[in-house]
Amino acid sequence: MRPEAQNRSHLGIRDLFNEALSGMLARPGRTVLTILGTVLGVAALVATLGLAKTAGNQIVTRFDALAATSVSVENRDEGYGDTAISVIPWDAEERLTRLNGVVAAGTLSPVSTQGALVRSVPINDPLGQSEFAIDVYATSPGLLDAVAGRLATGRYFDEGHSERHDPVAVLGPGAARRLNIGRVDQQPALFVGDTTLVVIGVIDDVAREASLLDAILIPDGTARELFDLQAPAEVHIRTELGAAQLIGSQAALALAPNQPERLTVRVPPEPGAVKSAVESDVNTLFLVLGGVSLLVGAIGIANVTLVSVLERIGEIGLRRAVGAARRHIAVQFLVESATMGFVGGIIGASAGVLVIVVVSAGREWTPVLDLAVPLLAPFAGAVIGLVAGLYPSWRASMLEPVEALREGG
């Protein structure tokens, strides 16, 4: 006989898995409890990753439609109070609409009325209030489109009104209600202090700049003539979807080629930036929790495998007696713990996906999950089981057969 040569003891893969499986199934209750820790850990991780992604995606879709196409430009606050002179030119709208990707643009400037109150056609009603403090804004014709506004009735003023300094006004719905102006077909008038304005339109709603809803809007030219407006205060731009970043980088230069640095451009955050910011917020906390439960799961597996080793000393001794080498003992226990981790990973990933779907359904969200997460989770579980099984398996393999047979009797 040449025992050292080809006749080393040997354990086939199929036999190895058969033995390991039988070992686990011998105590099904305990195996289930052992797996539970990994199940919880993996489920927590998968659910966390999925919910963060789902929530992030949700917030982003809400932003997209409106905010992601909105760019605004205003004068940089120089820190010298309001003495700085605006560098935004009167033809801002024209300059910006030339840029590729701009859907609409318009200037918006608060108009100082020196505290004058606003009233409509005088009705002598001693009980009712007839004079109101209402904000007046000067805008260029494109502003309504730039803030995605709709008219309820009448029309918005155009370039001609501005050039002729026509005393016309468009009312926000709030202002119209207070001034009791519902129709414009008879050209109702209102008075800002001593200045008379003809109302030519009433706004229904705007998607941005909600302050316009309670304001009186007049053409730039009119404001310059009647209220001594010096320069536009800010510009609002509506862009094509996805063009906001580009327009943001060009707007300042287009408006003030000589001193673009004096303008502040506000662009929506990059979609990716929003998404990752949300994800990282949600993730950090829950990933830590998931990691902790995984650790607990791993310790559980290690613990139970160790107990199992001590309990199965007799079996280990017998296997050594019938020719199992140390490595066969170690590998069997490793396969047992890795299998428990793997199964825990599968169940945990399923539970995690279920949690994502249930939570999403409850909130009417679209569940989003990287396919790789549930697919890799079982393998992560197996690795955890493997690592957890290292020490117990080593202990098992180091048992001397003589002692194992004696103690395991």
């Binding site: 006989m1 025992p3 006749n7 003891s9 036999d15 079996e315 080498a325 003589v402 047979l405």
Partner: protein, 237 residues
């Protein structure tokens, strides 16, 4: 199985076990010499019993013979191989293929069937899978348990359990069957039937070494070796 008339052991048969001045000393502050310079030769086909009171070094001798333990000094040749030169893995392989063990406490896997328990004796020594079932069935029939193959050990009596253990020990067709108090947990009647089984295996050509403190058991063997305080001495049967 075929029953062969007991043939007188010819001195020419090859030695399976050759101990030369083998000692096993357990360390510690006061070293204990469990086996003292033992010389023993067991030839192929022999049926040897080793008797001695408890604490006499019987189990240590069995562990050394079974390659479960290394002698502290001396030379041990098993089936012509000097065991002292083998690595742990080499001894394990030799043990798995060449030696069958029967223990007092059976050491059956409680959650496996009788058949699976017997095939355990084959999974580590390269027996082809399809052969195993056949070999195990043969071994179980040999010990008279062909009808209990799908039982679990819990459903078996003590005598039946020991028969399963014997089937497991002989299934790999070892050169040597080592039995450590095989009847220690059995009543007299069952003991008789197990000893009958040993006789039968012996007639089939198996080499048996039975360690016992029971003289009734040792009387069935053709050679009796006594161990007292670690010292071996041959006794006339």
């Amino acid at each position: 199985m075929t029953v062969v008339a007991r043939a007188p052991v010819a001195p020419a048969t090859a030695p399976i076990v050759e101990l030369e001045k083998v000692s096993r000393i357990f360390g510690g502050s006061t070293p204990v010499e469990a086996v003292k310079e033992a010389d023993l030769t067991v030839r192929s086909g022999e049926y040897v019993s080793i008797v001695g009171p408890s604490g006499s070094g019987k189990s240590t001798l069995l562990h050394v013979l079974g390659l479960l333990d290394r002698p502290t000094s001396g030379r041990y040749r098993f089936d012509g191989v000097d065991v002292g030169e083998l690595s742990d893995g080499g001894r394990t392989a030799l043990r798995g293929r060449g030696i069958g063990f029967v223990f007092q406490t059976f050491h059956l896997l409680a959650y496996r069937t009788v058949l699976e328990n017997v095939t355990t004796g084959l999974i580590y020594n390269r027996t082809p899978r399809r052969e195993r079932r056949r070999w195990a069935t043969t071994a179980l029939e040999q010990v008279g348990l062909g009808h209990r193959m799908d039982f679990t050990p819990r459903q078996l009596s003590g005598g039946e359990s020991q028969r399963v253990a014997i089937a497991r020990a002989v299934v790999a067709r070892p050169n040597l069957l080592l039995c450590d108090e095989p009847t220690g947990n059995l009543d007299t009647k069952t003991t008789e039937s197990i000893l009958d089984l040993f006789d039968e295996l012996r007639r089939g050509g198996l080499t048996l070494v039975v360690i016992t403190h029971d003289h009734a058991v040792s009387h069935r063997a053709e050679r009796r070796v006594e161990i007292i305080d670690g010292v071996l001495s041959e006794r006339a049967s």
